[in-house]
């Protein structure tokens, strides 16, 4: 059994054109406690100091920090830092999973049939949501990978690989408002789009699948050192398989997340788990600058020579 440990730093900086008098922000930046994932330490630093902070768990069980500012400020800086331990678990035997139609039929409603807690939870991820559509086009796309009798997880794995091969990673092609139907048509997008596309395909054939928000370890180009702030948040999907539980698939990288993916939380789609969501009074021109760094424990010291530099110096950059 392998255990790996990572440090993650997630910085967000808003610079407002005009002072913001009142602001509310909801942060989903705290990694969830999961089998195989343990958050050793975690803290969130905020400048300026909010008038009120409150922590709670949202409807999906994700930890949320909610903040309220009532004083004029023209920048807002948020730094989340976590030490997370991942523990390797055996990957599920894909071929041993039940036939996908039987899973679909188990998830379909039958009057008076009892649902256990796991099944009931899965039912929350069967339908359309803000960014996920249930349509024949998606079912048609998925059909190739789900011939009759194929084991559920084999089908999902094939679908993931096909999305990886047939779609181009292209940050210019989409933004968060691009509908998933357009992603299917243009075959381009980013991790979020591929996750929404894969969710649309799976839900369109009656399977339960959720959106996972988190971080992924990246490798610097050959010969180059790792840089602070060079990473980004990541997104992938998780599929419900009765008897096995939730199994993660990463369509952007065509792999089953193991020791290099850290989960923050999940929901029906991005809208349920966006890392930052806020409403401000005043301001304007507030696209944030975001810097994410995920680093293995053994590289931490060499990367952060300035580890204790005060936040204030960052604000002056």
């Amino acid at each position: 059994m392998t255990i790996v440990r990572y440090h993650i730093r997630h910085d967000t900086l808003y610079r407002y054109d005009q002072p913001v008098g009142e602001s509310r922000q909801m942060l989903r930046l705290t990694p969830r406690e999961l089998p195989g994932q343990h958050c050793v330490s975690h803290r969130i630093e905020i400048v300026p100091e909010p008038q009120r902070i409150e922590d709670f768990a949202d409807g999906f069980g994700n930890p949320v920090r909610s903040m309220h500012f009532e004083r004029d400020h023209d920048t807002l800086f948020i730094r989340a830092e976590s030490w997370v331990e991942l523990e390797s678990k055996p990957l599920p035997d894909l071929a041993a999973s039940p036939a996908w139609e039987s899973v679909r039929d188990q998830l379909a409603y039958r009057a008076g049939r009892f649902l256990d807690a796991a099944m009931l939870e899965a039912c929350g991820y069967l339908f359309e949501s803000a960014h996920v559509r249930v349509k024949r086009d998606f079912a048609d796309f998925a059909a190739t990978d789900f011939p009759a009798g194929v084991p559920l997880l084999v089908g999902v794995d094939r679908l993931m690989r096909r999305i990886f091969h047939e779609f181009t990673f292209d940050p210019e092609a989409t933004d968060i408002s691009t509908p998933v139907t357009e992603v299917l048509e243009n075959r381009r997008g980013v991790c979020q789009d591929f996750a929404h596309l894969m969710l649309s395909c799976l839900r369109s054939i009656g399977l339960a699948a959720r959106y996972v928000s988190g971080y992924i370890l990246t490798r610097p180009p050959a010969g180059k050192p790792r840089l602070i702030g060079a990473d980004a948040t990541h997104a992938w999907v998780s599929v419900f398989c009765p008897g096995v539980g939730w199994v993660d698939f990463d369509p952007t990288n065509a792999l089953l997340p193991a020791l290099e993916h850290v989960t923050i939380g999940w929901g029906r789609d991005f809208a349920d788990v966006s890392p930052l969501r806020g409403v401000i009074l005043g301001g304007g021109g507030h696209e944030p600058e975001i810097a994410v760094t995920m680093v293995p424990e053994d590289e931490f010291e060499s990367l952060y020579t300035d580890a204790d530099a005060p936040v204030a110096s960052l604000l002056q950059v």
């Binding site: 008098g21 409150e54 999906f60 309220h68 039958r110 807690a117 929350g124």
Partner: protein, 826 residues
Amino acid sequence: MPAGLIESYPFSANRYDEMLSSRGEAREHWAPFAERLENFPDEALIRRAEFVRNSIESDGVSYNVYADPKGTKRPWELDMLPLIVGSEEWATLSASISQRARLMNAILADLYGPQTLLSEGLIPPALVFGQHGFKWPARGVQPPGNVWLFSYAADLARAPDGRWWVIADRTQGPSGAGYALQNRIIVSRAFPDAFRELHVNPLASYFRSMQDSLARLAPADGDVPLTVLLTPGPYNETYFEHAFLARYLGFPLVEGQDLTVRDNTVFLKTLRGLRRVHTILRRLDDDFCDPLELRADSALGIPGLLGAIRAGRVLMANALGSGVLESGALFGFLPAICQRLLGEPLAMPSVASWWCGEAPALEYVLEHLDELVIKPAFPSMRMEAVFGHELKGDSRRRMIERILAQPHAYVAQEWVRLSQAPVWNRRLLPRSVGIRVFASATGDDYTVMPGALGRVAPRAGMEVISMQRGGLSKDTWIRADAPVVRTSLLKRRLGVIDLVCGGADIPSRLGENLFWMGRYAERVEASARLIRAALPRASSTDADTVQSLAGLLEAARGLGVLGDIDADDRPENIEAELIAALLDDKQPGSVASNLRALSFSASQVRERLSSDNWHALNRLEQLLSEQVTSTDQALSAIDRVMQSCISLAGFAMDDMTRDEGWRFLILGRRIERLEGLAGLISVPMSAEPEVRERMFEWLLEAVNSIVTYRARYRRVPELLPVLHLIVFDRTNPHSVGFQVDVLQKYLARSSRELGHPYPSLMIDPLARRLENFDLTRFEAEDCELALGTLRTLLAESMSVAQNLSDEVHRRYFTHTLRPMQLRRVA
């Protein structure tokens, strides 16, 4: 009179008629009214119909239709003949409604709580998690008193066998109770004798019980609970009702921006400060209620509301997420759910329905399409009901395809032949009718309004009743067995105590819009004056004038009236720029764009403006549609603008009641003028000595003091008298000193009245420096040093204006704190 009004009523014996039995005789509970109807002379009925129409007009009862090209407001349609229900029948009916409301509340408690209905297979997950109306952020919320559903309404129709059926449940924010009350007020006056003799149950007690229950259920924490009625605003289809109910129930009518959340507590923003709100009677759909956690693009909501709800600090009536039960696809599951949750059988059946998400139901629907009406299982689909028997050929095939592709999205209902009742149209005509019945929570139970909103299909033979499609309404009379005691929440006559108009709760939004109306009115006038001074000079060839123009254009740029143009450019180009600065409403800072902003602020406070005031605003707006190509046309357009501006200024001083709100209109005007004046005067004072004096002519024109100057001095403008007149002379309403004086006065008064500290540090030092300025310093040969002091004073005036504007906003409108670092005032 043509014999037998009722005899000539073309009722159909094979439909259930509310008034007549199948043998054509008046039903027992209708008989006394039918008899009266028969005996009324024709003219008397015509007079009553007119009375009903006039009452609707004079009470301003309206219903907004979204797609109506003739504007949003449409008079409410009310048939003068009531629908009558007997007391025995009503007893059964109201008990069933109360049970159904309890059931709906129990379902909500389960769906947002333990979800046993889902795990026991009693309700399909698709009809919960697939519903847009299911709000995940509301999971786990425990409302005060366990009341998720405070108000409930059911649409009922009578089956051919005479039994009532539920055809729709309203659980989000049911509308119609206010219209029912308004209908009652009018129809009971049209038939006062019949109304008395038939012992009709009064409605007032229902509304009183609503008030009591809200007060009892509110998380009051020892306060006297404050309930507000939250409306999406005047464009909502039932806005009339929101305003009417708010007035009737004595609750402030508020929009989302009137409320704010601090420390998980909801407050009403008033000019006097924040007042805690304990209960929100919600007519705003839940989606729009909190942009932080629900729809992010909603401008109607209250950021942070869900936090206050989770903390149990406010009662939402109804709870967020209650709309999930409005799907007709649930009907088939209700009997078993009722048995499970309440341990009793469901008293009133729903119309027979088949949710296509279940295979056997789907099969049945496809086989019996002709006898069914197809509806969306998810109300968010916004699909109209489709009558199976009307589907032919291609459209039938397409419908079947749609159902097969997503069976869980459709529900089929039995095609019900609605009962009929007479409506008056110079004679009696039968129309399909239904009723909407209302219930509200009392704590553990529900009380049902002893009355209903009668809903009538707009045309003969039509089976769909929809107010959006032009339906007619009726008052519904529920007969009591004995004479009833009448009370009303509407006072018959006002007493002395009513003469004070609830000043404590003037919403901040009103003050803010008046404030900006003042600022923009002043800005329109000032920028128009500046362009009027510039236009004739732009075409001049006189060297002195050309030189002075540069400063004028610089001033116009500094005030944002002009974009960045090159003063060396040819005169025609400058003229074109000036005309654009007048008329181009896309150009920020232009007269036209300030005019748009002015109209917007004014439209938000429309009810406070006299019609003359409103007309002056409308005349101003005509500027936007003027065709101007020449300087002359531009100048005459400016003259018209000035005329209207002067009218507005006059109305502000002489036409409006001088209450707390009005004070902000004047503050806005004075703050704007202070900032504008100081900015404008700074320009010549910073110019080279040789060009400075040539600028005084346009300066005096632009600040509207040229006439006074000429009258006083009868000579070319000189530095000292000009400065005295427009900076220091506190008798000149166009001087800096005058603005500071007036601001001190009004700020002091607002502070006293509204209980906020007077911002002495912000304005008093400026007043003192103005007063103590030694004007003899300008008598010296070289007064550059004195000019330096003056420039500092003008800069200070501008920053005082800006800081005061911020301060007024923070203190009276947004109720936020000052920034940590105080801005430098001097």
